[in-house]
Amino acid sequence: MTQAQVTIGVDIGGTFTDLVMLEPESGRLFNEKVLTTPDDPSRGVLEGIALILRGNGVAPAQVMRVIHGTTLVANALIERKGVPTALVTTAGFRDVIEIGREWRYDTYDLFIGVVEPLVRRALRFEVTERVGPDGAVLAPLCDDSVEQLVAALRGVEVEAIAVSLLHAFKNGAHEQRLRDRLAAAFPERTICISSEVMPEIGEYERTSTAIANAYVQPIFRRYILRLSQGLKAMGIARDLFLMQSDGGTVHQSTAMDFPIRLVQSGPAGGVQATTLIGRLAGEADLLCFDMGGTTAKACLIEGGEPTRSTDFEVARMFRFKKGSGIPLKVPVVDMIEIGAGGGSIARVNRMGLIQVGPDSSSAVPGPACYGQGGADPTVTDADLLLGYLDPGSFLGGDMALDRAAAAAAIEARIAGPLGLSVTEAAWGIHETVNENMSQAAGIHALEKGRRADRFVMVPIGGAGPVHACQVARKLRMRSVICPLGAGVASAFGFLASPMSFEFVQASVSALDGLDIAALRRMFGELEAKGRELLSKAGIDASAFGLRIQASMRYQGQGYEVDVPLDPKAVAPGMQAEDLQAALQAAFEGAYRALYGRIETGMALEVVSWRLVVASPYPDLVPQAAAAGDGDLAAALKGRRPVYDGDAGDFVETPVYDRYRLAEGMSWAGPAIVEERESTLVIPAGSRARIDRFRNLIVDFSYPAA
């Protein structure tokens, strides 16, 4: 059918593996969906690729790139299905990973549980050595203790070894020597050193990251090798690329060295899709709102770039609470995740108030309206009774929803006990979960030093569009942009991502003590390393760009503000004073925007540098839809009573077929727009319109504050 080159994005979800194929020349997009094959996910991926090629008459040789995102790494950590792993650390510190940070993430729970280390104590070993806080060697790495270590490691059954020594982020020489010795002694074992996995200060978090990387690496490697062999056998000669948690893609060989950087691979794809959708719609400041069955995630995109962080926590064991999971220092798109999804369970708490989540009814029995025997009322049950979801067209009609079961559950558990009508109770559930989400998103924005109200929301995920407009209004946002096919956003996002690799280098220095020559050298080395890692992608290295960010604070503070730095500021010929002035001005601007004040007479310091080597964003413009005849009536599927919270009653509301909405159409809310995987609820008082990429944009207005 086509002779042009194509790129393919593949995202493995819990139920489905989504595929998106793009023909860059024409901008044409093709979607495919196959069942995920949990026993060996690569099988589903290969089947899906074969299907999408065959179905569209594309030959394997036309595939110029396959970009893949996977939950394999996250799942291995959550389910604790990594390989048996040992830890090697500085003498006296083998329990750092078990001692943790000593605080309780829940103030009142006497029965609090703490995360169990991935490496049990019997498999944690020590070596005699010591590096000081400035990187100087206080005690050399003792050869005898290394040989004793090798002997001890021979006696244990492990597949991977993580090495994390104190202050190795300042001086990694001892870790490197250990790695070389252990690799020689145990060629069949995976060895990871903390100074390579993530050279950041903080022994607990860095050690945790090195361990997690080692723990998942052997399984990840086997998976990637199986997949790339499968692709070759299929006739796709190109190497595989993978989506990292920070929204950049890398070659398979780099991904195999640092699999922990893929811990948030899929969600990062969704964020990159959001970024592209915003770019096409002319919006650069976005809030990606991804609501699924069990959780909701939010991420800010600013100036066309997702906000990033190097702090992440996986496998939270208690109510998604910060502090209850495994801490990781990895570059990630900075997301919050809370226990608020379509399946979140509503109950009346001890205060006599409605509480939603954080727990959810799993797929079976699921929400009461699934008719599988679930007795707990959920968000989906409330959405159904309020008329937001249609019992007959959920998931394109594949699953009929049972209104009576939903009403019975809400009556029994919420409306009855509170003396409310079923409708009032359903609205209470809906509003409560919206409040949960808007509050979490608002606090997240503040933690990033932003205010949510100047962002535009892009909802993705199955349940996102149902709640998007109400959440956006609570946050006083201007608009919601709802892309077509929000359900396959992640796979699409893989195609929309640049090739990139990020380095973080901890290096505390007073602003007035910055050594510009040393910085120039460090940036040069990291940039060269980044280019080398990326050039495997077969992209012209001259196209790679360099972004530098300084993490800065007042001396004495412990939290930093990220400040972008133009690489030209360290170009030959520039003076230290120029660099300092540029950094100070940028810092003060950012700090004031964040906290409303600056401190006078306090010295500044740079804590770390973040350096990203990246290709430009792919020049990806999906084919614009053919303009329709502008007849909105043709898209009208019917009308149904839909609850309007402001009016406090049901209002007869038009229901539109998303697939028949075309560029240029516009109308006033209230309205419902249905597509296969999701339903958009457009409230009264807002206006909706369709842009030339068939995005549906809802605009809100507010009374002046």
């Binding site: 609090i112 104590r121 200060i201 607990y204 503070q557």
Partner: protein, 548 residues
Amino acid sequence: MTKRLSPIQLGIVWQRLTGLMDEVAQTFVRTSFSVVVRENWDLACSLMDADGRQFAQSSRSIPSFIGTMPRTLQGMLQRYPRETLEPGDVLISNDPWLGTGHLNDITMVQPIFRGDSLVGYVGSTFHSVDIGGAPSVTAKDAFEEGLCIPVAKIRRRGEENEDVIAFLRENLREPDETLGDIRAQFASYVLAANRLLQLMQEEGIEDLTEITDEILDRSERSMRGTIEGIPDGEFSDSVTADGFDTELTIRCTVRKTGSEIEVDYAGTAAQVPWPVNCVMNFTFAYSAYALKCALDPAAPNNDGCFRPIRILAPEGSLVNAQRPAPVWARHLSGHYLPFVIYRALSQIVPERVAAESGSPLWNVYFKGVGRNDRKFVKMFFMSGGYGARPGSDGPSTLSFPSNVANTPIEQFENAVPLIVTAKELIPDSGGAGQFRGGLGQRLSFRSASPQPLSFVIRHERVKNPPGGLLGGLAGAKGVDLVNGEKIPAKTAMTLAAGDVVTFETPGGGGMGPPDRRDRPALLRDVADGLVTAEAARRVYGADLAEGQ
């Protein structure tokens, strides 16, 4: 008048209030200048209504500060009555008898105005490592313990009060750090006021007290509901603190009648001329906190929870000390209160309580001259093991009843000329039991300073270990050593370059008889070296030859 609140609206507003206070705490922490605020999170932020009733606070808060805040506000209002307050004013004090019980905790409060009317207060308490003076284990009265800031307006109508600032700057060793933290809170109060007013406008709330009434009433009902389910009666027990020249008994009687509980400390030792005396505020705070954890942990915390609770302590006793008793290390008594309450409660509701933890909280102050030739005072926290619970082992090294995080070694060594040579668990320190207590930790510091470097400690549980419950055994006692020689647990000493000081924190008590311990769990402990083979035989009576 606001329209009658629906439970739906109340739920939404309540959620927003809690979220708001988390934003306030975040703003404070992220702009603070001290390790103790940002790493140890030694702070709390609260919201009170126009009547001074606390109805919301930051979710991660130091338990004692939550309990003392409303009482501190009342004390401040006696000095500056409500009608003397203007928009942009901030009140400050660290008076131990108004505040949290020692000078190092500074409390500030800002009134929030809507137009001309005062609608509430935002307040916060934080720990300042230095507060001037010479706090020491031998202080005989509170005057020696540092600067007491009487209730004063540190900000007037949004402008800093230069006199108060100058007073502080002149009396503090690290004025930039403490004043930096104070100013960080100014920014967070502005945010709190703006957010609260926005919330009132958006939700159409004219009178905030209608909301706070509902919040407090519902919280009260929830607490009463649990209390009613417990049999009536009177239950007593006591714990013994190491003390200074003599051991100190803390005795408590829990009287439960209907939906109310009274905790009475009659029988507790008299106040002493050592800095371990608790003021009533502190006693109330930790007693109320302990009851909330055991009885109604899931409900949000506010003044309503404590209406059914009465705390009594004889005037002049260790737990209701009168001016000018020395109070600097008052947690050395106060942190025992949850444990003595749980000992009494274990006689009626054993399923709701934990065995004793390896606390009062251990810490050490180091003083000396840093690499930059400036004097420094740095505090380092180190938690002991947490007590075992019915159904689960106590986690090792977890802060309770306080809730402070530790300082990463890599950051600590960056700040001070000390090298940490060990931070490790101590085998066999967890109290044996069907469920084992958490392990304590060993921390060793070697001085790398060419100049003398001094340290101050005041540690408990070196004579009386954390007790077990229901047949569980005690955890290990704590130990302090310099160059391998035992030293007193309450002392100030000087280290020469190369000297090593070692602290071994106590382990948590066990729960239930050791011979009922699940065998695979015991074998796993032995394999991991948490319990030695010798202890497994001697204490648990396990024959390890078989099954290993």
